[in-house]
């Protein structure tokens, strides 16, 4: 594809000058291949590559770190008792928010695509509790409500965004797939599968360029793993030693296509190995497993070691609101729901005598009310002014539009 233009431009430059009488002669020497000029005795930019082929087969044993459900206690992860109710609150907020989203969509308060995160809340919450919120960066794909809320984005602004209101987190310009919050360093939800992975690498690049001790978490789905952008992003992160954790939220389906139907190697965490990166596998049905895995990977990233983490999880809803998810096997959804991460954490909290059933219920009621308040706020907010269509296209306000 991108070839070496060592010869053609020299000829073509002459052709151009002859034809159109350009102001000056093209510089032929500039496009000559410099390789021939270099003496082999001199020190060049030689690399370690060689053409040696070993006699026998190359045998390798590979170990991958795993973070299965129910392995960790909160003590193991350095979490205090006081962290647990906020963590539960964080997960419950996502669940209750999205349950109402569904309802609001049916009432036509919300339009466009709506990809719900229900079932995956342990991934967002476990991850956010593994970073320095506001300093580290996060970027994700179109199933972004959960991660935004987990990062502490205001549910009011989030709901208003879904309603297309001026008070929305992206001023009503983004919608469901484009939650942004620059203060929290939430670099947005992105809607072209795989396209934000190189962007995530760029965010990590900026951390490194500025000599900051911060990292980027780049979330994507199993579907993005088949995109070329995935390979390019990991390769770039590997060669530039970028402080990034690539986190595949494997919820088992790319839209309606099961991961093992479209991945030659369906153990997705193994893909990172071809870039020389540490890879591991965690359960997305246990917030502690996610938290442990993310903390370990973030630590590597802070030392300039990019890595790949697959978190296996499950979305309870279809790909989007219009998807009845008929591609699932019978009983599959119920089986996954029996591992629900919120129920698991609630049980853990009760077992550890950190809170009672009724305290959890009170918390849940509070959150439900908070979501209702967000809906009221969204309802009462104005749509953007018609002239706002011209805002934020360019940085300067007097951009000469043709209108």
């Amino acid at each position: 594809m991108a070839d070496d233009n060592s010869k053609a431009p020299t000829d073509s430059a002459d052709a151009f000058d002859a034809k159109s009488g350009g102001d000056g002669a093209a510089d032929k020497s500039a496009v000559e291949d410099t390789a021939a000029d270099e003496s082999t005795e001199e020190q060049g930019p030689w690399t370690k590559q060689s053409i040696d082929i070993p006699e026998g087969p190359i045998k390798e044993t590979v170990e991958y770190e795993t973070y299965p459900a129910s392995r960790f206690t909160h003590d193991d992860l350095g979490l205090s008792d006081d962290d647990l109710m906020p963590m539960l609150r964080n997960m419950l907020l996502q669940r209750r928010f999205e349950e109402r989203c569904r309802q609001m969509y049916q009432r036509q308060n919300i339009s466009g695509f709506l990809h719900l995160y229900i079932g995956q809340e342990a991934v967002s919450t476990g991850s956010v509790y593994g970073i320095r919120l506001g300093e580290d960066s996060v970027i994700t794909a179109y199933r972004d409500h959960g991660i935004g809320l987990a990062m502490g984005m205001d549910p009011k602004a989030c709901m208003a965004e879904l309603f297309g209101k001026k008070s929305g987190c992206s001023s009503g310009k983004g919608g469901s797939m484009h939650f942004f919050d620059s203060e929290k360093r939430m670099f947005g939800g992105h809607a072209i599968v795989g396209a934000h992975l190189p962007v995530g690498a760029g965010i990590a690049f900026a951390h490194k360029y500025r000599d900051e001790d911060n990292v980027c978490l780049c979330f994507f789905g199993d579907g993005a793993m088949a995109q070329g952008a995935y390979r390019e992003a990991l390769n770039l992160a590997g060669i530039y030693d970028l402080p990034i954790v690539f986190i595949c939220e494997n919820n088992q389906y790319a839209m309606g296509t099961a991961v093992d139907r479209v991945q030659a190697e369906p153990d997705l965490f193994k893909h990172g190995r071809s870039f020389g990166m540490p890879c591991s596998l965690a359960s997305g049905m246990d917030v502690f497993s996610v938290n442990g895995a993310v903390k370990d990977h973030v630590e590597m990233a802070r030392e300039g070691q990019p890595s790949m983490l697959e978190i296996r999880t499950y979305r309870y809803q279809g790909h989007s609101i219009s998807d009845p998810a008929k591609y699932r096997k019978e009983g599959e959804l119920d089986a996954r729901k029996s591992e629900d991460a919120i129920v698991r954490l609630q049980q853990y909290i009760i077992d550890q005598d950190i809170a009672t059933d009724s305290e959890i219920e009170t918390l849940d009621d509070e959150i439900k009310q908070e979501v209702l308040d967000a809906i009221e706020f969204a309802n009462n907010s104005d749509f953007p002014d018609d002239d706002a269509i011209y805002d934020h296209v360019y940085a300067q306000e007097d951009y000469p539009f043709i209108n």
């Binding site: 594809m1 991108a2 070496d4 233009n5 053609a8 000829d11 073509s12 430059a13 052709a15 151009f16 034809k19 159109s20 009488g21 102001d23 000056g24 002669a25 093209a26 510089d27 032929k28 500039a30 410099t34 930019p45 960066s137 001023s171 009503g172 310009k173 484009h178 942004f180 620059s182 670099f187 947005g188 072209i192 396209a195 934000h196 992975l197 190189p198 962007v199 690498a201 760029g202 965010i203 990590a204 690049f205 900026a206 360029y209 980027c216 070329g228 952008a229 390019e232 390769n235 770039l236 060669i239 530039y240 805002d391 934020h392 296209v393 360019y394 940085a395 300067q396 951009y399 043709i402």
Partner: protein
């Protein structure tokens, strides 16, 4: 005034901006160790080191996206495409990510990035290496598109582009890299984005042409002069935003317009200029607006076909005489 090649003017712009602002860096294929595929970045690795002059793999999608993420984080990347023909591999990043970030985020994230490199046909390179992308990239709101025709404009406009807070597609021409011209000695020489240059004043016909085509237009104007016609030549310099006011003023004076454009004729820069002129200055036109463009075909290899393909001085003279209703 110093005499510089186009490549030297571009290098000077990048060097000055990198000296001025540590957030500016250059990234692309062969920009560092190889010293630039067309030697535009020659010597820059030595001056700025490998953290700021960065070789990439042949992975346009990846490094364009990386630049976008860095720009969203407040850095000011210059991404070099070895040629803009390869930018199509990164198309999604250039048209779908870079220009939409500010809008989709309600103004929270900008994307101050410059994508630059040679654009358009460069002789007999065949169809996949001869694309002119100015019309294409101008079609995406949020992008700005600049295509200078001489070293002085290139320096002043590139410096402005690097400082601009929006994503910019900066189109050069490999056939022009060796072209010499006077470049301003002014310290911190900046040219405004969106301001056309009246390169030659005339009364009889307006010829609008950018980048390489500008030189075709100037040559055609000389030919026309020999036949007693006085052509005005306008180089828009920036395709988007387009300084349509300057073009309209000229058309109101000459009442006749020819547009030269290397991009494929259907929905081209020439189409857009033509449309806007008929919309705003219809009553001032004494003849239909004519375009001089390549035919609507891929670019060929054979030299005679390539000559036929590229907009030429002869075609421009012929078109000008047609709008002048002059006998040919």
């Amino acid at each position: 005034m110093a005499t510089l090649q186009l490549r030297e003017a571009i290098r000077a712009a990048m060097t000055e901006e990198m000296e001025r602002d540590e957030d500016v860096f250059l990234m692309g294929e062969e920009v560092a160790e190889y010293d630039g595929a067309y030697k535009v970045s020659q010597g820059m690795l030595d001056q700025f080191g490998p953290d700021r002059v960065i070789d990439t793999p042949i992975a346009e999608l990846g490094f364009s996206g990386l630049g976008i993420g860095a720009a969203m984080s407040g850095l000011r990347p210059i991404i070099e495409f070895m040629t803009f023909n390869f930018s199509f591999v990164a198309f999604d990043q250039v048209v779908n990510n870079a220009p939409n970030m500010r809008y989709m985020s309600g103004g929270q994230f900008g994307c101050p990035i410059v994508f630059r490199g040679p654009n358009g046909a460069a002789g007999q390179l065949g169809a996949t290496h001869s694309n002119s992308t100015e019309a294409l990239y101008s079609n995406f709101p949020g992008l700005k598109v600049i295509a200078p025709s001489n070293p002085d404009d290139a320096k002043g406009l590139l410096k402005s582009a690097i400082r601009d807070d929006d994503p910019i597609v900066f189109l050069e021409s490999e056939q022009m890299y060796g072209m010499k011209g006077e470049v301003s000695d002014e310290e911190d020489y900046l040219l405004p984005i969106g301001k056309a240059r009246i390169a030659r004043e005339g009364e009889d016909v307006t010829i609008v042409a950018h980048s390489k085509s500008y030189h075709v237009a100037m040559k055609a104007a000389e030919e026309l002069e020999k036949e007693g016609y006085d052509a005005e030549v306008i180089d828009p310099r920036t395709i988007k935003p387009l300084d349509i006011e300057t073009i309209i003023r000229s058309v109101m004076k000459t009442n006749r317009l020819v547009v030269i454009d290397e991009s494929s004729p259907f929905a081209s820069v020439a189409s857009e200029v033509t449309h806007q002129v008929q919309e705003r200055a219809f009553d001032h036109l004494d003849a239909p607006v004519l375009r001089v463009t390549p035919p609507d075909t891929p670019a060929p290899y054979a030299p005679n076909l390539m000559d036929r393909y590229m907009p030429s001085v002869e075609e421009t003279v012929r078109a000008s005489k047609r709008v002048l209703y002059a006998t040919t």
